[in-house]
């Protein structure tokens, strides 16, 4: 009933707007947005600014948590009904929808001229056979968050530069972790064995430009480099310096936001975590967390990786493609509007023209006056193209996470675990 009324209302609205549109140029009508991060546009007045420029377009935001959004979009694409006009898609999920024939609109004509303006690696999942299906929103440059108070207690330096120098490689990081654990008893970071989600492993693959498949599309889950990467991470388990808290659960939050004995000293994760720490996970302890560069896999190698990040796309079913594109262009392709959002939520724009803005060098009182945004920026420019995400990411991540859990609990060795995961992936996807 509600749906019927909504449709009727929208219909009436469109008719009335349509008559106005006859008199004026430009897109018109209502566009429906699905996603979970539009608060950076609502709270900062960008939606109003959009309406000032496109007075005939009405924006209707439907907030969905990511899980619900994917499920509903999947249904909308299968049935050819009920899709929104603009949809937020994480890069990890994007390629799956791009591969779903006719689910998303081909945006190549609009996007082609602005492709070079964004981080190159962000396009990998948005492109298929030379056509583009989404526009990058934010990047996920990976950094090392560390607790200045715990570092001090362990007799280690606390400023960003010295910490970056200490953790120049994963070996250096292990030494720091060992010192911290020996001196203070604090775990270095949370890395659950039994419920590992493979995210940290993926970060370390990413920084080496590796992933789950190669340029020919063959599965590389059991490649020697992948096995070596997992074995490198396992050194932290053998040293006993990690905790078992499962990410995104209560014990994990307590470790990051608490002040007790069990709190974790560091966290390697993307920059979007900064705003979560600041606003809710560790909002009670300002001035304690600091930001440094993540370790390199080996001395002199890249200290940059990506974790997460979103895009905006237009479902093919949308009957208001022009207005939807106008919205995406306004929000994501204009530096001033991306900066407005960045100032609000710290989600680093993938749009590189923003990178000269003064905001990047402003000290952040939450991080004890450090300038974390300058680090985010520097990292974003160095993120290699990797093959972690892709059409089968969900399936591959699931099998690899299982492999890591089996290896971490001592059931099998790294090679056996990853080989079995690779076999499962090959069988289920039909890839080589």
């Amino acid at each position: 009933m509600l749906k019927l009324m909504k449709t009727l209302l929208i219909g009436i609205l469109m008719l009335s707007l349509g008559s106005v549109a006859l008199a004026q140029d430009g897109p018109s009508g209502t566009i429906t947005l699905w996603g979970w991060a539009y608060d950076s546009m609502e709270a900062t007045g960008l939606i109003d600014a959009f309406n000032a420029e496109y007075p005939n377009v009405t924006v209707e935001i439907v907030v969905y948590p990511s899980g619900d959004l994917y499920q509903n979009l999947q249904l909308a694409c299968s049935s050819g009904q009920g899709a929104p006009d603009v949809v937020q898609l994480e890069n990890s999920r994007l390629a799956g929808y791009v591969a779903l024939d006719g689910c998303l609109s081909d945006l190549t004509d609009q996007v082609e001229s602005i492709v070079p303006n964004f981080n190159a690696y962000k396009w990998a999942d948005a492109e298929r056979d030379g056509r583009y299906y989404a526009v990058p929103w934010d990047s996920g440059p990976v950094v090392l968050y560390y607790r200045q108070d715990i570092f001090e207690q362990a007799g280690l330096p606390t400023d960003s530069e010295s910490v970056s120098a200490l953790v120049s490689t994963w070996d250096g990081y292990l030494e720091v972790c060992t010192t911290i654990f020996a001196q203070t008893g604090h775990p270095c970071f949370a890395n659950s064995r039994t419920a590992n989600d493979a995210r940290l492993y993926e970060i370390v693959l990413w920084q080496q430009g590796l992933g789950y498949y190669n340029a020919d599309g063959a599965v590389t889950v059991d490649a020697p480099e992948n096995i070596a990467t997992l074995e490198k991470l396992a050194e932290f388990w053998s040293a006993g310096v990690t905790s078992e808290a499962q990410p995104w659960t209560d014990p994990w939050y307590a470790e990051l936001g608490g002040t007790g004995e069990d709190t974790a000293a560091t966290l390697v994760i993307a920059s979007w975590m900064g705003v979560f720490l600041k606003t809710w996970v560790a909002a009670d302890i300002p001035g304690v967390w600091g930001v440094a560069y993540m370790p390199a896999f080996a001395e002199g190698q890249v200290r940059a990786a990506n974790d997460g990040g979103s895009t905006l796309a237009i479902p093919a079913e949308s009957d208001n493609q022009d207005a939807a594109w106008a919205f995406i262009e306004f929000m994501l392709a204009r530096p001033e509007n991306q900066i407005t959002q960045f100032a609000y939520n710290d989600f680093l724009p993938a749009l590189e023209a923003t990178y000269t803005d003064a905001i990047f060098n402003e000290p952040d009182p939450y991080f004890g006056g450090q300038t974390p945004r300058a680090i985010y920026l520097d990292v974003a420019g160095k993120i290699p193209v990797a093959t972690v995400y892709g059409q089968y990411y969900g399936l591959m991540n699931g099998h690899v996470a299982t492999a890591i859990q089996r290896f971490a609990t001592g059931e099998v060795d790294a090679q056996t675990a990853l080989t079995e995961a690779a076999e499962n992936i090959r069988r289920e996807t039909g890839l080589q």
């Binding site: 999947q74 779903l100 659950s192 499962q246 990410p247 209560d250 014990p251 399936l395 699931g398 859990q405």
Partner: protein
């Protein structure tokens, strides 16, 4: 969990009254058809069609959009090599073994206790025990995460009072299943208790009185009269919790968010969750349908066995 409407036994006594002329007139039967049609239309659209459609999909590699390519018996072949599917069946069986007997016994005992008018405030207790059933599972899952926090959770703090070492509730395969069973018991015991209460109230009081006069004590009454007469109700409850333990979903996702419900080492991945992951997570609707049918056949056999076992005592 799936909760089919409890069909009232008394329905069969309500039969169409024959009209004065000794049968339904044509227009009467037309009206009759019209009145029952909503159910059949809804059933065909939301019940029968998906059932048949997913049977067809089970022999395809449909990704949710575009043409349906038939792949013959490929999915069935894959199914036999799919360790994760078999693990999910084993998980379902171990959760079923941990959960179902406890659920049946506890809800029956609670129902018998709260059926007695001698218990003071029985209405209040019935309400309290039923409350979790109407509590939002996502919220409940989060609260249980807090209770089961290995360091600061209430459960381990209580254990510490008795100098018992803390339990890693959600972190090892076996404790994860036990924690899950605790949550599911808490959430569903009220529902099963209500079913049992309804069953108890159909047992005529004079049977108990006669037994008392013959010198039977309350244990003898419980085991010789209550349980045999409750057999159909227990079977109903058993079937529901069997389907339930293989089909857990919301409980899993809210208790194990970091593994999207699969739990440590996939120890709580149920067939229901696995079907969802394959379909909606991996765009493999064809394979998910094949898994759904395989799972259906296995659970159907288990339920037939349960019926057989409970029925065989009837003679």
């Amino acid at each position: 969990m799936y909760t089919p409407p409890v069909s009232s036994l008394s329905n069969r006594h309500i039969e169409a009254q024959p009209s004065a002329s000794g049968g339904l007139t044509r227009s009467q039967s037309r009206w009759g058809l019209l009145f029952v049609s909503p159910f059949f239309i809804l059933f065909m659209v939301f019940g029968l069609f998906p059932l048949l459609f997913s049977f067809i999909l089970a022999f395809s590699d449909w990704s949710g959009r575009g043409t349906i390519n038939f792949t013959g018996l490929d999915n069935i072949n894959l199914l036999f090599q799919d360790n994760l599917f078999w693990q999910s069946m084993l998980n379902g069986i171990s959760i079923f073994l941990l959960y179902t007997p406890l659920q049946i016994i506890l809800s029956l005992v609670l129902a018998v206790v709260l059926n007695s008018k001698r218990v003071r405030g029985f209405r209040f207790f019935r309400m309290i025990i039923f409350m979790p059933y109407i509590t939002n599972m996502v919220a409940a899952g989060f609260v249980f995460q807090l209770l089961m926090n290995p360091q600061s959770g209430l459960f381990n703090q209580i254990l510490a009072l008795f100098s018992v070492a803390g339990v890693p509730w959600l972190d090892t395969p076996m404790t994860a299943r036990i924690s899950l069973v605790v949550l599911v018991l808490w959430a569903w015991i009220g529902y099963h208790m209500i079913i049992m209460l309804a069953g108890l109230q159909t047992i005529p009081q004079d049977l108990n009185e006669a037994a008392t006069i013959d010198g039977a004590n309350s244990f003898q009454i419980f085991f010789r009269i209550t349980i045999p007469l409750m057999r159909p109700v227990i079977l109903f409850s058993l079937v529901l919790s069997t389907i339930g333990s293989f089909n857990l979903f919301t409980e899993l996702v809210s208790l194990f968010p970091s593994t999207r419900g699969s739990g440590p080492l996939n120890s709580t991945l149920t067939p229901g969750l696995y079907i969802f992951n394959q379909g909606f997570g991996n765009f493999r609707f064809g394979y998910a349908s094949a898994v759904a049918y395989a799972y259906f056949i296995i659970v159907f056999v288990i339920m037939m066995l349960e019926r057989r076992i409970l029925r065989s005592h009837d003679t």
